[in-house]
Subunit: 142 residues, 2 copies
DNA sequence: TCCTAAATTGGATTTATTACAAATATAAAG
DNA sequence: CTTTATATTTGTAATAAATCCAATTTAGGA
């Protein structure tokens, strides 16, 4: 996710370059926190008081279709968004909902094989590690 | 998930054996469809016209805590429930939401290692294969 | 500067899930 | 079998994420 690339793509697509879209893209650039739509909205609403949550959702949807952000389904309540679209995995703290990146690792070949045997055309594989983060572990420990 | 085992567990826990709970447990036994709470509710409401969705959720929650069903978060909209709690993975059709079982496969050691290095106490790993099922592939193909 | 299609906004709507209080029913005791 | 205490169910209301929609605003080309 690189602002210049995205601005160029926007122009190529004939899509308008609005302050809201730019703000969302800028806020996402280099962000490793895996924010939800509401997180992004809350971050920006002071600087853009008229910003609407709908615009955040619309822009995320568009960025997703452009392949510039990935939507993560780590837990049932809400989707998280990741401006790093290179293949990698995640660890998710089941206590505080913290998310950290894990490197890319080749998924077990047997799974892809079996999915194909069942007739599936495989598009993606997600590996999610669930655990308790350092801080949450320490809190419980005293 | 075995009815007799569950009935015994219920008795041991001093939990009442209501017709609703038994119906939900029976409907889940051997079910490989990975139903949502509403799927279960719809299946049973003819036979138990007074059944409430709340009871379905309560019972699923209880079965989850008993370790008799697993909650799957394959997509953001809703949780699916799986009476097969042995470790295994899933393929999810992104067109029709069909879910099939995949065998258990050891997750990449590097991921667990890295999660631990980050300070996480690992509790579980989920591998989800996303793809297009046979039927959905054929539909698009003509 | 003007104009128009595209985008934003705010509010309503949908859908999954949880909360809660009143009604009901399990199962133990008499 | 009847009574009773209380666990459970039910129906409805409340939450929360996400989407829909019509009215208003605005980007950007003419
Ligand atoms: Mn990430
Ligand atoms: Mn399964
Ligand atoms: Zn934590
Ligand atoms: Zn399908």
């Amino acid at each position: 996710m690189d602002i210049k690339t995205i601005i160029r793509k926007y122009r190529e697509m004939g899509v308008r370059l609005t302050p809201q879209r730019l703000a969302i893209v800028k806020s996402l650039e280099g962000d490793r926190s895996h924010p939800s739509a509401i997180d992004i909205y809350n971050r920006l609403k002071d600087e853009y008081p008229s910003l609407s949550l709908t615009t955040v959702y619309n822009t995320l949807q568009m960025l997703k279709e452009m392949g510039e952000v990935a939507e993560l389904n780590l837990h049932p309540e809400k989707s998280l968004y990741d401006p790093d679209v290179t293949p990698h995995s995640h660890v998710y703290c089941i206590r505080c909902e913290r998310v950290d990146d894990l490197p890319y690792a080749e998924p077990p070949e047997a799974l892809l094989k079996k999915a194909q045997d069942l007739g599936y055309k495989v598009k993606d594989v997600a590996t999610i590690v669930y655990g308790i983060c350092k801080r949450c572990g320490e809190i419980r420990d005293h």
